[in-house]
């Protein structure tokens, strides 16, 4: 098996090397770059699926880079949890790349390389078995993100956009520094940063527990846990829909993955601190959903909503046990898919009809029925209604909470679902329901006057909008093509099939949870010579 494990670093090296080649080729490979982007992300997904298959009954795969003995080498480890995360990460990258190509965003020269480096960083953060390398890979993932945020931001609102980027960079830099200090403290106490060597160390020594807690707090900020969630809802809407979808699927989720891994391995699921998690994550659920009610545009509602959902996902680790972890892992995978689907469906509308406050573009359900279906399915799934995967995820989580005797937490989870539905209905009635907006009625001023004004102001985007609106007056009303609505629809179908065939993913999640509960397989694989 060690031969197969030696391929693990390819998940990181592949995308990054290809990205380098694309940058070197520059404009000569502009067309090819988009194809290469899809190809590499698809290859990463295929590799991850193969990993899932190998983890069904095989041992945990671990590879020490450079062939150094265990404990000295920098390890890459893949168990079922890692493999599942890699699969969904790959799937989201493929779908978001598709959306970006359809929306024309991927035609920008640096888009493909940046997304590939991002994918490499995320894969590395998921695979690494070393705390310091986790820090490095999170940075590898963040640096292209900073570029993507700025590059892909919608034009016009320059101030808001840059404010969002600044906030995002500053918060992440501070958080990474805190994480680095935590890693330093752990090294100072134990003399190692290898997660497998640290297994159970926090339960034996409170010094290690305190040091690892610094890391957990940093990861908590990255995951946008209340009370340190404010940055997410402000930073995410200030970029383009495909980038928001990509970030929502990958960034916070890497932090959540690391929290699961660190608590399960270094703390060995220590029951002494679980109450902190229950308290904080319940607050996250409630504050997130209430915050979303007060937002005014689709993407800021969805972004604030993520905070609430992150509370649900992390509840799994606070209910540490076979049921809780299975439910948490299932929820994590379900959420990555559904959230991206929602961002992409509403993003398709935003790209064709413009970014406007909720209620100004209406009647999408009549003009774009397929987009409406995709949004509706994903929204119901997010709220936790059958037959979608959200129902399976929420039901198993509530059952796990009841099983652990946490009735209040279970009640909170159910109540928050109702508010989730409320926000989804708000988007539905504000964007999809009602009479279709005729392009001329969007603004009071006649199109000709707007065009003249835009020409005077040199605003190319406005000109394009007006010209397109004029064209649309005569053209058929349906403006979102199959290529653009496809990504959201595909992900909505995935959540439907995961709801109907939920047992398959539940089994896989329960295997992953078993790997977190009993870490001996993980530790032995890493430390074996």
């Amino acid at each position: 098996m060690t031969d197969v494990a030696a391929l693990l670093p390819l998940f990181v090296a592949g995308p990054i090397v290809v990205a380098g080649a694309l940058v070197a080729l520059g404009t000569r490979a502009a067309r090819a770059a988009q194809a290469v982007l899809v190809l590499v992300t698809a290859a990463s997904t295929a590799g991850a699926v193969a990993l899932v298959v190998s983890q069904l009954d095989g041992p945990v795969l671990a590879h020490g880079v450079g062939g150094w003995p265990g404990g000295v080498a920098i390890p890459f480890v893949a168990d079922m949890f890692t493999a599942l995360m890699l699969t969904v990460t790959g799937l989201l990258s493929v779908v978001c790349a598709w959306f970006a190509i359809a929306s024309g965003e991927a035609a920008t020269r640096s888009y493909s390389p940046l997304v590939l480096v991002l994918l490499g960083g995320v894969n590395g953060a998921l695979l690494t078995g070393d705390l310091f390398n986790l820090f490095v890979f999170i940075e590898v993932m963040l640096l292209p993100s900073y570029g993507l945020l700025l590059m892909a931001a919608p034009g016009g609102a320059t101030t808001r956009r840059l404010a969002g980027v600044r906030l995002y960079v500053l918060v992440n830099l501070l958080t990474s520094t805190i994480f680095l200090v935590g890693v330093g403290l752990i090294y100072g106490v134990t003399g190692t940063v290898n997660i497998a060597e640290l297994a159970g160390a926090a339960q034996e020594s409170t010094l290690v527990a305190a040091a690892a807690a610094v890391c957990l707090v940093a990861l908590g900020i990255k995951a946008a846990v209340v009370p340190v969630h404010g940055w997410l809802a402000r930073a995410y809407p200030s970029t383009s829909p495909s980038v928001t979808a990509l970030f929502s699927g990958l960034h916070t989720k890497v932090a959540i993955y690391a929290i699961y891994r660190i608590y399960a391995t270094i703390y060995d699921g220590d029951e002494a601190y679980l109450w902190v998690g229950l308290l904080v994550f319940s607050a996250t659920m409630v504050v997130g959903v209430l915050g979303a009610v007060g937002e005014r545009s689709t993407r800021s509602i969805l972004a604030f909503h993520m905070v609430s959902q992150i509370g649900y996902i992390l509840l799994g680790v606070a209910l540490f046990g076979p049921l809780g972890l299975t439910a948490g892992i299932f929820y994590l995978l379900h959420h990555m898919i559904v959230k991206a689907s929602l961002f992409l469906s509403t993003g398709a509308v935003e790209i064709r009809y413009g970014t406007r406050p909720l209620g100004q573009v209406t009647g999408i359900a009549r003009t774009e029925p397929l987009v409406a279906v995709a949004f509706f399915a994903a929204a119901l799934s997010l709220a936790g209604l059958p037959p979608f995967s959200g129902f399976v995820a929420k039901l198993s989580l509530v059952l796990a909470a009841l099983d652990a005797g946490q009735v209040a937490v279970a009640a909170t989870a159910v109540a928050v679902s109702l508010f989730t539905l409320l926000s989804m209905l708000k988007i539905w009635s504000g964007m999809f329901w009602g009479r279709p907006t005729t392009p001329g009625a969007l603004e009071e001023a006649p199109a000709g006057m707007r065009l003249a004004l835009a020409r005077l102001a040199g605003d190319h985007r406005e000109q394009a909008t007006v010209l397109e609106a004029q064209r649309a007056d005569t053209a058929p009303r349906r403006r979102i093509g199959v290529a653009l609505l496809g990504p959201g629809l595909v992900l909505a179908l995935v959540t439907l099939s995961l709801g109907l065939g939920g047992q398959l993913l539940l089994d896989l999640a329960s295997t992953a949870a078993a790997g977190l509960l009993d870490t001996t397989g993980y530790v032995e694989a890493v430390l074996a010579p």
């Binding site: 600044r166 830099l173 330093g184 090294y187 100072g188 383009s240 190319h460």
Partner: protein
């Protein structure tokens, strides 16, 4: 002990700078806090009981630990890259930085301000106030560039 005190002083300075409104000062605060983190990592290598790594017969128990030094080297490179990016952000979007006070010229009142203004603006010799006066002309470039780039992507709004 020296290291611990230095880390404390650095963090105190960093927190003070981060509480300021101008982005350049905040960035300097981040430079300080990155140094504090690096010194913490160095201290984690056991600087109190270990000496220099050189000599005729170095004893592994008393020579400096190489691993934290490697950590610090990596961390410095990463922090440096992000700091540069932040400074670019500060310079590129200076005119629409809504974190600056309504009277931007007042920011340079204390000793650090004017020098920072120069770093992020036109060049040495220009006072912050003069730089602000030039804003309308300067401000066009990044904005225009952005719009142009949006056109290239062909995304209609």
């Amino acid at each position: 002990m020296t290291l611990a005190l230095t880390v404390g002083v650095l963090v105190a300075g960093a927190v003070y700078l981060m509480m300021q409104r101008g982005l350049v000062r905040v960035v300097l605060g981040f430079v300080l806090v990155a140094h504090a983190a690096n010194l913490t990592l160095m201290a984690a290598g056991g600087t109190d009981r270990r000496g220099e790594p050189l000599g005729q017969q170095p004893d592994p128990a008393t020579t400096a630990d190489a691993l934290p030094q490697a950590f610090v080297l990596t961390a410095i490179v990463i922090a440096f890259a992000i700091t540069i990016y932040l400074l670019v952000l500060a310079a590129a979007g200076r005119e629409d930085d809504d974190t600056d006070g309504p009277t931007g010229g007042d920011m340079g009142g204390t000793d650090v301000g004017p020098h920072l203004g120069e770093v992020s603006t036109v060049g040495a010799g220009t006072s912050r106030g003069a730089a602000d006066a030039e804003d309308p002309h300067e401000g066009e470039d990044p904005d225009e560039e952005m719009r142009h780039r949006d056109d290239v992507t062909g995304v209609p709004s």
